[in-house]
Symmetry: C3
Subunit: 342 residues, 3 copies
């Protein structure tokens, strides 16, 4: 269930309704009247929630173990993993899910801007909190003791920031729960919409982004860096992580403790980064990957594969450091040799 601090779900709907919305066939017609209250990720969904499974191997275990009361699947998945799950079969499960999620969350938006004062009277500010001129703090937000909110910064409704936080000028923090001692530099964008779309016959169909950004204690986030909120699962930044300027972290990424991410790195959706990882500047990490603890990535690398704990990779596409050095040396030798041949 999406966090009610941030999202308001519409009324429950019957599986029959949801099947019609998604253009799906219900595997078990007898269940068509069952009421579903919300969408949820496979691993979190309960008996009155619906999830989706697109057949990707990485998510099969979550599918097989899911307690979801219903699941949008590809027509090739005919047997539900348990007798408690009803399948809704469609051509494109992601698109089907997008349609159902939009029925539960029709606005896609923040709740209407009922806020009229810059610091909403419904925000709770701990002792010693300092709010610079022009900062906007939404209803229900909680700011821990001794935190400072910079000039013209924006803290969204329901956001929690722990004690001793430092939010830079003109930063925005939305759909976010942050620990103690967090430092966010000017212009960072925490909690914007992830890049989630399904392709429908009418064009791109936006998938409601219903997760949060969870930030651990002592995290530092650089200027103009962007960290999107999760699509349903959360985006998670572990304790002690240090992120430089202009970094992009996509939805559902998880970064382990004390990892260091240098400027202009991009990490694509649903990738998991271990503890104590170091990622050099301008490197890019593809989506749905796992980088183990202590991995080191050279600057400008392009990582397209999982990387085991402790390994150092470089190059684009990235390979083990030894191989990368060899590629560089070989290129140099070949171009020289070629010259000698002339």
């Amino acid at each position: 269930m999406a966090d009610p601090r941030f999202y308001s779900v519409a009324e429950p709907r019957s599986l029959r309704d949801l099947a019609a919305i998604a253009g799906a066939a219900i595997a078990d017609e007898a269940a068509a009247g069952r009421l579903i209250r919300d969408v949820a990720p496979l691993q979190d969904a309960g008996p009155d929630e619906i999830s989706f499974f697109d057949g990707k191997k990485a998510y099969r275990d979550a599918y097989l173990g899911s307690r979801a009361g219903a699941c949008v699947v590809d027509a090739s998945d005919r047997e539900p993993p348990s007798s408690d799950m009803v399948l809704l079969a469609v051509d494109d499960p992601h698109l089907g899910y997008a349609r159902i999620a939009r029925a539960f969350y029709p606005s896609l938006d923040d709740s209407p801007a009922v806020q009229t004062e810059a610091v909403d009277p419904g925000a709770r500010l701990g002792p010693g909190v300092e709010v610079a001129p022009g900062a906007v703090i939404g209803p229900g937000a909680e700011i821990g003791a001794g935190s400072r909110i910079g000039a013209n910064a924006v803290i969204g409704p329901g956001v929690c920031i722990g004690d001793g936080g430092r939010i830079g000028p003109l930063a925005s923090v939305r759909y976010c729960l942050a620990g103690d001692g967090v430092r966010i530099a000017a212009g960072a964008r925490i909690g914007e919409d992830g890049f989630g779309f399904a392709l429908g016959p009418e064009g791109h169909v936006k998938v409601p982004q219903l997760g949060r950004v969870i930030i651990g204690n002592g995290v530092e986030i650089g200027a103009n860096t962007t960290i999107d909120r999760g699509s349903g699962p959360d985006t998670v930044i572990g304790d002690g992580v240090i992120i430089d300027n202009l970094v992009q972290i996509a939805h559902n990424v998880r970064v382990g403790r004390n990892s260091i991410i240098v400027a202009q790195v991009g990490i694509s959706g649903s990738t998991t980064i271990g503890d104590n990882v170091v990622i050099g500047g301008q490197a890019g990490i593809a989506g749905h990957l796992v980088l183990g603890d202590g991995v080191r990535i050279a600057a400008q690398s392009g990582v397209m594969t999982d990387i085991p704990a402790g390994a150092t990779f470089g190059g684009s596409p990235a390979v083990p450091q030894k191989d990368w050095f060899r590629q560089i040396a070989m290129l140099r030798r070949l171009t020289k040799k070629n010259l000698d041949d002339r």
Copy 2:
């Protein structure tokens, strides 16, 4: 003619004056008294406007077909394409044009900040528009029905945003006409100055950027993305385009309908991207190129050439995908072989 919603042109000037400003020789002295009212791109200029042509092949057709009353050219262009066009010959047409454009637009700037209220009384807000605390909306701006303007966002003078728009907190939208259903995330910068300079003996000479950003219906623009306004032509983002975070789109770029641009991509000036193109994260596209409909570019690629419709390219410099895969495989094999030789 630059859009008067955004730019105020100075008084008309004679060709004699303009030739003096640009340090140019007038090919046809008899025309020296003719009055010119404005600068304009070759394809848009009329008989009382002046344009420039730097000899680049890509613009020769526009030059030959131009209705401009005068044109700053290289000394090697001696014959005007029509008897209605007067040539002003200089060593560096771009520099000559820059000087003339600065005479017509001496301030380079926004009109003075006469605005004293955050939402200017001269802004027109449609029914149901919600403006969050701290948002600034300039004189003459029009915001369509049901649009929401986020906290501390800035909408410049004269900007038009269609119905149902969502402008995120701390975003800025200037020199821009946007369609319906546009979503712009926090911190995006729409309509800043393009990167336009000519090299004069006194150093860099800024070329006034006199175009706009035209945004189609249903466009999504990610957090902290920057889309510069055109230099004279417009920057154009087609209907249904989806742009991720931290993307750079330079002046005069045109992006076709339903194209998808992933995070941290950079597109250089005057490049045209077709419909339904997909550009992977961190890719860079050089300037003045044409990418056809349905082109796909792999993440981190560096595109230096035009690409025909439907093709998939990868690598830096980018080559057809098949060749790119071969390069990667070859490098792997060579480094292995080299090892075996030892």
Copy 3:
């Protein structure tokens, strides 16, 4: 000594205290009572200041010539360069320095947000300065004649901006001294914390960033670009430099006059760029390098070495242009040959 416009140093401390804070051994016990007033870079430190030297070759000359009264060094540096300098030996000089710097600058932060009005009464605005709605200007800031401060921009305490400056909407300028005719586009972040950390047994230890950003005359800075302030030395942008959008410039970088830096470039800490350098889009420059005057770097290059004046480099890792072209040609030939072999 850190600029008192921006930083407030704590009380002087004895070398005995500082050694205890850093976990250091004092080489000369007789000097343990000597009072130290501040931290400072090797080249600027005076007799009552303490600096650090980590053994890096690039800084040995500065160390040997330093007038610092004390210096945190590696245990292998046993002889001070002069009899006026007392050595404090530790395992990790950067960590030891970080601890001492935090004792002198315990808050790490901006001075408390005592500011209650958007334009602080203690700010000095020259004749003809225009301040758009929502802009915040800190105490002690000075804005030169005819400058314009955009809507919702933030000018930090003590910042100086020369005459005729243009600060875009939602830009932030902190810890900065800027010349005349400076143009800073929307969303640029000038003067945020550099990425400075030492690794302690308790995790990352933030090193106070005590320098400034010094911006010359006529500099242009693009939208959402980030320029971190120096760590102790300053970050310096020379006269006439033009910087495009989304560029990252790290602490202590120096950019020479009239250089051009295209969009999405990243320059790592303490690198020096000469005059009239051109750096193509998305290129990355590693830290602690020197690029001579007139150097040209191709787009997407990765520079890992010093580059002599006048040279053109390309590729990742970057090599002289001729070699880079050869690498590209060779790769093309090899993949073709490989095909022919089949």
